[in-house]
Symmetry: C2
């Protein structure tokens, strides 16, 4: 029942950096896809519409390096490569999915908040200054 310790906010806390490494869009989606079973590179690529080959490669390498995904080369000709979740990777799936679920459920509320925010002081001094509203 402890509230997660002092909840390290120090800049040396390594979990801070780790967080950035696992909590990104592509990692989440790759893990979700691989949760359905082992997949080959281009199979993953096809399911993640809009991902570039470079981004996917980097993402997979990072996941592999962090021990969340395993890569196995199947020596055919031409070569085939399969990726699958490790047990460790599996433990990450649920927390990530919770977050994804949140975005789906709360999207309407967020959208409403955005419209309120954007129109509220649309005429004031903060026209399009630092508030880069992309997305």
């Amino acid at each position: 029942m402890l509230e997660l310790e002092p909840l390290c906010f120090s800049s040396e806390c390594p979990s801070r950096a780790l967080f950035d490494q696992i909590a990104d869009k592509w990692s989440m989606m790759v893990i979700a896809v691989l949760n359905e079973g082992p997949q080959r590179f281009n199979a993953i690529r096809r399911r993640l519409q809009g991902v570039t080959q470079k981004a996917l490669t980097q993402c997979l390498r990072r996941l592999e390096r962090n021990g969340l995904v395993a890569r196995e080369v199947i020596s055919l000709s031409p070569v085939a490569v399969q990726y699958h979740l490790t047990p460790l990777g599996h433990t990450l799936r649920e927390p990530l999915q919770e977050l994804h679920k949140w975005t789906l459920v709360k999207l309407p509320e967020v959208t409403a908040a955005r419209e309120a925010f954007d129109s509220a002081d649309g005429g004031k001094k903060r026209d399009r200054s630092l508030i880069q509203l992309r997305l």
Copy 2:
């Protein structure tokens, strides 16, 4: 008990973009800090060692725009500004904290995996090619 629908992977799916907007290091930490109660700008700044003023401002604006955080100006002299979580922001706290907890618990395993990965093919062809190992 549904497995989260078709789990939209399409590039038009708006929750994909939303995910990137809320699942970052600073947002997580700001929400964690504000969970302890309303805080002023510099108070937050002090607790989040290493954050720059610009990054924090941007983060707070984004959170405000998405309806997760509310900003209230207290007219003193000099001006004071308080930030606090909205009810919507509160609902995001738990999923984020789960993820943060994951990084704390699994950090040893991840670290081990990294060392294995980095040393395993340290001598092979993938020296320091595309696998940028920063962190």
